[in-house]
């Protein structure tokens, strides 16, 4: 798996204008809809589902990263967007750290395996010591794409040299 499979560079937002959780989700879902040509997706409905998911428990999973996600019918594959927020977005993360990096994921409702693999790819990247630091320093979208490619490569190396989580 590669980041570019589910987050093409056009789905990367360098710095969010808004800091409200709901507004951020709306901006990101609109971007996904546009980039992936998903004309059938209802943005407000998807945002509502994402917000409901957050009510059950924060998707702020640590180190300043949040992974808001929901399942949608009629999706053929996992689609996502990445956004950086220099001001921070309130996500009530479990470790209390303000969220600066958001991976928003819309997943097909009928494929638990691919959803777990996407989450695994994101988590393995976050675990890499320099991933967050590099993302913080990135000056443009191209730089973020390159960081994603580097993370893809690290994960691939890791899989070749087991055991290595």
């Amino acid at each position: 798996m590669k980041f570019a499979d589910f987050i093409p560079s056009r789905a990367i937002i360098l710095d969010l204008k808004t800091t409200g959780k709901k507004e951020v989700m709306k901006e990101m879902v609109e971007r996904i809809k546009e980039v992936f040509n998903l004309n059938t997706i209802k943005v407000n409905k998807a945002v509502e589902m994402l917000m409901k998911r957050e009510e059950i428990g924060s998707t702020g999973i640590g180190n300043g990263f949040a992974v808001p996600h929901c399942k949608l019918d009629n999706l053929k594959s996992v689609v996502g967007a990445f956004a950086r927020s220099s001001r921070g977005v309130g996500f009530n993360a479990l470790d209390g750290v303000a969220i600066n990096f958001i991976f928003l994921i819309l997943a097909p409702s009928d494929n638990p395996t691919v959803n777990l693999q996407t989450l695994q790819h994101i988590s393995q990247s976050i675990k890499q010591p320099l991933f967050g630091k590099f993302l913080r320093q990135a000056k443009n979208v191209k730089a973020i794409s390159e960081i994603f490619k580097y993370a893809d490569e690290q994960i691939k190396q890791c899989q070749l040299n087991e055991p290595c989580v």
Partner: protein, 89 residues
């Protein structure tokens, strides 16, 4: 005393973020380190990020392991949580 329990994941969607967060909640109640193992992979039970790297689907055998003096009750609680399908389908 080292303690280890092996348990099968039987919730439909496997070890995604919500179940991982529930494991972390329990693991944080104990001072000792607790690990969840899947084959040769090992994840710190106090980190959602680490648990998510296991990508364990429905049917996976997981081991819960700790060497800590205060871990036995928490390991048993995590075992029970997994057996209860985390309250999911």
């Amino acid at each position: 005393m080292p303690v280890e329990r092996t348990v099968r994941l039987t919730n439909k969607f496997g070890l995604h973020i919500r179940p991982a967060a529930k494991i972390v909640d329990l693991a944080l109640k104990c001072k000792s380190e607790i690990f969840i193992l899947k084959d040769t992979q090992q994840a710190n039970a106090k980190s959602i990020i680490e648990l998510a790297t296991l990508a364990a689907p429905y049917g996976t055998l997981l081991s819960i392991r700790s060497d800590g003096a205060d871990a036995e009750g928490v390991v048993a609680a995590i075992e029970q949580l997994i057996n209860s399908k985390f309250g999911e389908e």
